[in-house]
């Protein structure tokens, strides 16, 4: 407090660091949480059985990655605990241009994924299809529109037919939307000449003991969400640069204040030592004084930070349009999640850093001669 206005400036900047670190990490945790929940609800359910040749990152594998649904899983499929999906490639001609798309066949009555597949359960001459809003925008189609699709069946024979869009859904998960057309499973199986076959089989709930089959491999949440976790982690590293800079500014100010304080209070230090305090005790005294900045900053941060962070957790942070086109699930509004661990760890980090920074300049005290210090001679 001895440094007056300078102290308050230090405390204010430090309190900003507190609030911004907690807010930023809360946003990332909220984003991560929302992305995980959305991905589970829309795409991966409780885990997925992949056909042994299926590799979503290698389109070359799509031609061969299909097979009969294994009999061991049929009971679970009939019970509604598993949902087979057939995936194949096709070509569409939006605006007269050729575009490769993925056709995905799913049971219209499925309840496992949040995809609104019910409209597929209709009797029309064309093939009924549902698409996401991103796909609808890119191919300029809306509900009720028609489009010709060309594909090659399991024997490589060309076939073509009209599809009719019976529904357009909005989702935060681009990986079930971009470049994809959802059709009734039985229609796609017939089109591709692949009766009773699938590419992936999605589980309703998390499977602790997957059913072992010869040509299907079970992929759990850890595996399927690893990309998402990795992406959030890299975002977190990128974002932390901002609060590291803020923290550095605060630390520089504290360091500077401590140096000035030791210079101005030489006589006091000399007197302390003359009265019998060891150098270590004096260093501790000044370090604690410096560290008090951190505690004061935490209190100030609490005064304006708690209402701000609370308001954010209710109102959320609106993401700019198009953010979710980057390939990962991003909600329109991200609600930050603040955990107790987050608040405690942030407070501890800031306090430890403040203490270290407060301690560094006080090492000068160790070099001081008490007599010279009392005289006020410059060190």
């Amino acid at each position: 407090m001895g440094a007056g206005l300078r102290t308050w400036l230090n405390v204010l900047v430090l309190s900003f660091s507190f609030v911004i670190i907690i807010w930023h990490r809360g946003i990332l945790d909220g984003w991560n949480h929302q992305a995980e929940v959305d991905t589970i609800n829309w795409e991966i359910g409780g885990g997925i059985y992949w056909h042994e040749k299926y590799d979503p990152y290698d389109p070359f594998t799509l031609t061969d990655s299909h097979g009969p649904v294994p009999y061991q899983l049929k009971k679970e499929i009939n019970a509604g605990n598993l949902e087979p999906i057939l995936i194949s490639q096709a070509t569409i001609y939006p605006d007269g241009h050729m575009q490769t798309v993925l056709l995905k066949g799913i049971d219209p009555e499925q309840m496992i994924l949040a995809l609104p597949t019910a409209p597929l359960d209709t009797m029309i001459n064309e093939i009924p299809a549902v698409i996401g809003t991103r796909m609808a925008k890119s191919i300029k189609l809306k509900t009720g529109d028609y489009m010709t699709v060309r594909w090659r069946d399991v024997n490589g024979v060309f076939d073509a037919a009209d599809i009719r869009i019976v529904g357009v859904f909005k989702t935060n998960v681009p990986s079930v939307d971009n470049g994809q057309i959802w059709l009734p499973l039985d229609r796609l199986q017939k089109m591709m000449q692949m009766p009773d076959e699938a590419t992936i089989i999605v589980a309703a709930k998390e499977v602790s003991e997957p059913i072992l089959t010869s040509s299907w491999e079970f992929k759990d949440h850890d595996f399927l969400l690893s990309d998402l976790t990795e992406m959030i982690r890299s975002k977190s590293i990128g974002g932390s640069i901002m609060y590291i800079i803020l923290l550095l500014l605060a630390m520089l100010a504290i360091f500077d204040t401590q140096v000035l304080s030791i210079f101005r209070r030489q006589r006091e230090i000399g007197t302390h030592m003359a009265l019998g305090m060891t150098r270590g005790q004096v260093i501790r005294l000044f370090t604690v004084e410096g560290a008090m900045h951190g505690i004061l900053a935490a209190l100030i941060a609490a005064i304006y930070g708690i209402p701000f962070l609370y308001w954010q957790s209710v109102a959320g942070l609106s993401m700019p349009a198009g953010t979710d086109d980057m390939g990962m699930a991003v909600a329109e509004k991200i609600l930050p999640v603040y955990s107790v661990g987050l608040v405690i760890s942030t407070t501890l980090i800031v306090l430890i850093v403040v203490t270290i920074v407060s301690f560094l300049p006080t090492r000068r005290i160790a070099k001081m001669n008490p007599t010279e210090a009392i005289k006020g001679k410059v060190i």
Binding site: P59, L62, G96, R150, R152, D153, G156, V157, F158, D159
Partner: protein, 247 residues
């Protein structure tokens, strides 16, 4: 005298009719294959791609042996110069001088168009002799560019042919297709090829300009112009090796 002329005319007309009826659709296909196929051929050609932003011309030279082996080197424009393609059986490799790398084209890439044209890599690879893989019937007669044609309807005899149905307008005199339409299994028309500028080369009739049109796609299609073609040459075996891609 008058009766003699009438009788002769009737005989001539009748004999023409008999000749026309006599030849079966499959024999017509064989004759067409005989015109278009050779043990090997070397072609210098231009591919004119009519796009929305204007035309683009790609020049190339190809060496082909039977239906299994083919090697193409692109000569122009500058950005495609040096690109080479090798087809061996059902495999296709492409060498790009820019990256100095050879890649195998397979899976969905085979369905992409070749250099933005109306031809896919798959189309380029499919060159079976028609009479070996299709069963034909004469569905009618038509006149295309003042030439009387048979309309042949072709149905695939093998279940893994890309186009299960084709319609072919065959020149009744020269046994050359003047138009071909390729259909999907559902009967949807997918592609149309018009064969023009038929010339007699080495004792056979050969169309030297072909216009390919993907009918589902907008645009004027792609023209394939044969500048020079020679049949049954001595092509060294090394041409059809992967090593020749980098030469």
């Amino acid at each position: 005298m008058f009766f003699r002329k009438v009788i002769i005319t009737i005989i001539v007309l009748f004999s023409n009719q008999v000749f026309a009826q006599d030849i079966s659709a499959n024999e017509i296909l064989k004759k067409i294959d005989a015109n278009l196929s050779a043990d090997n051929q070397v072609i210098s050609s231009k591919m004119v791609i009519h796009g929305k932003r204007g035309d683009r011309t790609v020049e190339s030279k190809s060496w082909t042996e039977g239906t299994e082996k083919s090697f193409t080197e692109y000569l122009a424009p500058a950005r495609d110069k040096g690109t080479k393609m090798l087809k061996l059986g059902d495999q296709l490799w492409m060498y790009s001088p820019g990256t100095d790398r050879t890649i195998q084209i397979s899976g969905h890439m085979l369905r992409q168009s070749v250099m933005g044209s109306d031809l896919s890599y798959e189309d380029m690879m499919e060159d079976d002799k028609l009479h070996e893989v299709y069963d034909a019937v004469i569905a009618g007669r038509d006149t295309l560019e003042n030439t009387v044609c048979w309309i042949l309807e072709l149905t695939a005899t093998e279940k893994d042919l890309a186009y299960p149905k084709r319609k072919l307008w065959a020149d009744q005199k020269r046994f050359i297709p003047l138009r071909e339409e390729l259909y999907a299994k559902s009967g949807t028309l997918l592609k149309r090829i018009d064969f023009k500028d038929v010339r007699s080369i080495d004792g056979r009739w050969y169309p030297t300009r072909m216009i390919f049109k993907d009918v589902l796609k907008e645009g004027q299609g792609t023209e394939f112009i044969v500048d020079d073609i020679t049949f049954n040459q001595d092509i060294p075996a090394y041409i059809f090796s992967k090593a020749s891609l980098k030469k």
